[in-house]
Point group: C2
Chain length 245, copies 2
């Protein structure tokens, strides 16, 4: 946490020099991955416009986390877009399917979990693309990473690459010669690696939320997301400040 | 209109023979293009699940048209998904930008119109993909066509092809070996061609709505969409039953 004011000071210095900062759209859930991405994009000198989705997720408490993270890291704007995914259904994160608890790392990484939301990242990136076009931004940041893509197909780099092509072909900006870049700064990192990076960039992890099935606003401590977070802090050799139920 | 009962009888016959009908997702706006697509997919033997978007469009009257079309053509289900595009803005169809009136065909086809909604078809197809995955459908139908793609980049076949790749790479179904097909039966047709096809398939065009800027529920007669529709009926040598304001 101590690290960030120095970075903020650096950004302020850049601003005062009149250096133009390019706008970028950052997909921000309120979890520790996307908080790290926001810090990363800010440090790269982008003017960060956060995009958060209220998709009827069980863990709506992450929306408040996203707001806190934007405030801490100085996002230029934050938009919360309401998505109607319940009408489509098909996931434990939105429908009436139980969130699995206490799974081993092995069973967690076998197959595609029930918490998979059909085409979620495609939908999220589509909105990010629409916003990028309106803001005349050509850069989109998303926190997909190695921990996820064993289970979620829409977290793999081939998918991201295919989406970048859609972005170039399906927009006014692309049709008139611009190229969109989908940045995935975490794609090769483990959870511990992300935590180390976030810490170095000054992210206050206590503000973030990861749990899929919170109990009175606190993390359950047993779902896949909680287990990955706990293990990540342990492997990173850092204190986990998460308040568990 | 006389044609349809015969087709319906054919479908009923197929059903009674126990022939399994594959599910398909049909993007249905309520305009004459997508109504023709729905009739086409039905005739191809698909069990059609219509997907309509309420995206804060000025011409919300098209939502009622979509419902009427589903009823006429016997869609298996219809879902109306509310989209929060106003939060993103940037188009005359959703924001406070004037819809152009009385333009010539030439000026209509110069550049990208202000009625372009940023990344709209990318967003629409993303939802269609999510629904297809939930319904175990591998076929998605969209009414993009030659009239549109001079102006809207996300109506071109290259874009559709790029999106199909995203579908295969970004879903559980695709990751486990399935392929999605994005059908574009109108892509090479002019407005007159679409009208002729729809007529042959039994679409009741009086139920459809095209106008971007309706006046008390009636078509304005002067926006690009009205002008294209009028010209299409004229070229097809058919009576335009649209009720203009």
């Amino acid at each position: 946490m101590a690290a960030f004011p120095a970075r903020l000071a650096y950004i302020a210095k850049m601003k005062s020099r009149g250096k133009h900062r390019q706008p970028a759209v950052i997909l921000l859930s309120g979890g520790l991955d996307s908080a790290t991405v926001l810090a990363y994009a800010t440090l790269q000198g982008f003017d960060c416009h956060a995009l958060t989705f209220d998709y009827g997720q069980r863990h709506r408490v992450e929306l408040a986390a996203a707001k806190r993270v934007c405030r801490q890291l100085g996002a230029a704007t934050q938009r919360v877009v309401k998505l109607d995914l319940r009408a489509i259904g098909g996931s434990a994160l939105t429908a009436n399917i139980a969130v699995p608890k206490g799974r081993s790392a092995k069973s967690m990484h076998r197959g595609i979990p029930v918490t998979y939301v059909p085409a979620r990242n495609t939908i999220f990136l589509s909105y990010a693309l629409a916003l990028a076009e309106v803001l005349k931004a050509r850069d989109i940041f998303i926190g997909v990473n190695a921990v996820d893509f064993s289970g979620y197909p829409d977290c793999r780099s081939q998918f991201i690459k295919a989406f970048a092509r859609v972005a170039d072909l399906g927009t006014k900006a692309g049709a008139t010669g611009s190229h969109f870049k989908i940045h995935t700064p975490l794609i090769k990192l483990t959870k511990a690696g992300i935590i180390r990076l976030g810490e170095a960039l000054g992210v206050d992890f206590a503000l973030t939320h990861s749990c899929y099935d919170p109990v009175r606003g606190r993390a359950c401590g047993h779902c896949d997301s909680c287990l990955l977070r706990k293990r990540g802090f342990k492997e990173a050799g850092m204190v986990d400040t998460t308040r568990y139920a």
